[in-house]
Symmetry: C2
Subunit: 457 residues, 2 copies
């Protein structure tokens, strides 16, 4: 069998950095959400681009699947191995290779997590802004074009990755991008690999754009009389160009979940959480403008703070929201939906979603990065009741279809993986098979993360 | 002959929107710079995506080249037709189809120019920021991933195009992107087509991100004692994060050229031109911070103004720089170089370039969008002296090689076309043939803008 040949050869140069232990296979083929486990045949921990190249070259000659793995925080089954194969865990490629304050650039290995990076950057007065919530690996964030709470101000991975080293299916190594702020030099291969979910190559190095830690950061939280008021206020804040660094929404169910989880007594109402960054004058100006808008919506009190501990206290509900919501229904599995709509359609989309979830009888609090028009419902499902999964899938599909009908997208930040394959044609039409053509050109044997993103044969 | 069959069939539905007149062929196959003319067999002016689809489908079946054409302002021979074929002039596809203040989005045809768009947007208080200098078509700007004076603040076409309609080589029509602010839905095809220079498809519609016209705009100009001082000041402004909307450099030769051209008496020294945008407080803060930095470099006086006419008067040298420089040597042809380096390497790169041009005996003033690390030397060549062209090419090559050795790119904004094909391997190595693989997957017969960007067989 080919797989045995490959395993023997891999062992010869990886030694104990190859594992077939049941627990490793299960952990790497599992998922934080509702996907059935699909373990690989082996997990490997390469340490260099050259080792990754050797692994891919070998797997390609034997047509063995290869799945990239970062921190395993994906929500759409990206790292499962439905066709078996070799899981490349990038955890040992986690060096901060350089951090250059003059150019505000860091070069990192793909296994470094964003929190690790930011800890190492702090003494330079710099930080990497993309914050998807989870402490994801930077390689994984690049592979899924991650975004999150700060995207409204700093953009997503698309805006903060200057270049990549990538190992192609056949083991060839390429470099994309440069250290310059921009370039018009040929196809934007960096952008092509960002969001390709391990189907076009394995990222082995990233050149990242850093930002200066702002002089002042002010965070605030504000309850609203109802959801429409909160979300309409967000539309206005964005349309008026008030420079928020973060603007997050949590609904009344999330507030209730948090009270039960943390023993607090927050008003069980929808809330907006905001953050402003910049010079003292800029922060004061933005904060005041925000305060005036929310007052017009009968919201308040708007509490805000600038000290780190006080800010963290105010934002605690956001940091713990996922686990607080899951605790609403012990032993339930979560299906996390993820749509993004044009800002003018946000209130409409959130309201219709709310009504549809209420009608379904499922628990599904709503929260999100509303400044981008991006929000999630966290649907809680009894794993012993397959009928609930059917209802949840139908809700998720309906949310995606609504997003498309409003000019939006089926995924703001979680990606396609296996979870949204069935919606790709609806969003992309003829452009989806074109993605398949590109995939075939770069990976003719289809070894890279099979079963994900592109049309399946 | 295939071409005659194609011409007959095209005429049947395009009528007088197909021309084979010598002047049209020459105009469309010419160039603003030093490239030899290479006219197409015919020029066509389609009016709809469907017509473009029909043209491509027909040309593809007969393997006839197709070259996209916008405003003809490209500087690297992008629109020449070295293999003949059909030039698709998008001038008649110049509608502003919609402008939506709620989402700050415009949908436009590819033939609309950026100045036309901004004229139509003004009454909404919105504008499209990308400004490459020339009044280029938006389709051409997308196809070349254009940037320019405002990129330091607003980004390039990469950051301001949300989606595209594209006709593929075989006539299939696809849509990329959406109206949402972000998406993680599959390969970033929008980014792939941006900068593909007409080699992967013909853009027939663009969804653009608009911005609010800022409350206050303040522009200024400041002479510096020498070039090193000016460029080092730029590095500091960027590294300190002072929010400039534009920061442009012109050297002493450009000031001299402008005095001769416009009859002014500017100090014949290097200058920085800056613009600040935002609230009155933000603009005052940024302008003061800038003033303090330049003072440390012995620069000044720093003149600035907020009224439109006064601003335009201060910035006149920038708007007329290209023609003023060309007038330094009547009847010369211009070769416009274009490199982009990491900001920390800017002073070094500009100084070495200056010295090398001085040593060559050619006239070549330097100017650029220095906030991005991007600058140009405009080399003036006597067309009757082929030896001068040889020297200019050698200078241009040396500039590009220096940019690469400093971690930069061979083109910040002008693209590859035919002019920089010979440098692509040096910048991209193995990634260049990969671009060729993508090209072949999307355009198997190679009909789209042959002779440009990808490796030539």
């Amino acid at each position: 069998m080919s797989i045995n040949t490959v395993l023997t050869e891999l062992s010869s140069f990886l030694g104990d950095r190859l594992s077939r232990s049941k627990s490793e296979l299960e952990q790497h083929g599992g998922s934080e959400t509702h996907f059935a486990p699909a373990p690989p045949d082996a997990v490997v921990w390469p340490e260099t681009t050259q080792e990754v190249s050797r692994i891919l070259s070998l797997c390609n000659s034997h047509a063995i699947p290869v799945i990239g793995f970062g921190a395993g925080t994906s929500l759409e089954g990206h790292t499962s191995a439905p066709h078996g194969g070799i899981c490349i865990d990038t955890r040992r490629m986690n060096a901060l290779k350089s951090a250059d304050p003059g150019d505000m650039i860091a070069v990192v290995g793909p296994g470094l997590t964003r929190e690790e990076l930011n800890r190492e950057l702090r003494h330079l007065g710099l930080f990497f802004p993309v914050d998807p919530g989870a402490n994801a690996s930077l390689g994984g964030m690049a592979a899924t074009r991650a975004s999150g709470t700060t995207t409204v101000r700093y953009g997503s991975m698309r805006d903060n990755v200057l270049g990549l080293s990538v190992v192609l299916a056949d083991g060839r190594v390429i470099k994309t991008g440069s250290r310059a702020a921009k370039s018009a030099s040929g196809y934007d291969l960096t952008a092509l690999f960002l969001g390709s979910e391990g189907t076009l190559g394995i990222i082995t190095e990233l050149t990242l754009r850093l930002h200066g830690i702002p002089e002042v950061t002010s965070a605030g939280i504000c309850p609203f009389p109802d959801m429409t008021a909160a979300v309409t206020a967000v539309q206005l804040v964005i349309q008026m160009g008030i420079p928020v660094a973060r603007i997050e929404f949590v609904d009344a169910d999330t507030a209730r979940a948090f009270n039960a989880y943390a023993g607090t007594d927050m008003p069980e109402k929808p809330h907006l959480l905001v953050e402003f960054q910049g010079s003292p004058a800029a922060v004061a100006e933005a904060s005041q403008a925000f305060g005036e808008i929310v007052q017009d919506f009968g919201a308040g009190p708007f509490q805000h703070a600038t000290k780190t501990e006080d800010r963290n206290a105010l934002w605690k509900i956001r940091h713990h929201a996922f686990y607080a919501i899951c605790a609403l229904r012990p032993n339930a599995r979560a299906m996390v939906t993820d749509i993004c709509v044009p800002i003018s359609q946000l209130a409409h989309a959130v309201e219709e979603t709310r009504a549809e979830i209420a009608g379904s009888g499922l628990l599904g609090p709503i929260l999100g990065h509303v400044g981008d028009g991006n929000f999630h419902a966290i649907l809680l499902i009894d794993p012993a009741a397959p009928e609930e999964m059917t209802r949840a899938k139908s809700l998720a599909r309906s949310m995606s279809e609504r997003a498309l009908s409003l000019g939006g997208t089926i995924t703001g930040e979680h990606g396609i993986g296996m979870g949204k394959l069935g919606l790709m044609h609806a969003e992309h039409g003829q452009a989806w098979p074109l993605m398949g053509d590109i995939k075939t050109a770069l990976d003719p044997k289809g070894i890279l993360n099979p079963g994900k993103l592109v049309p399946q044969e």
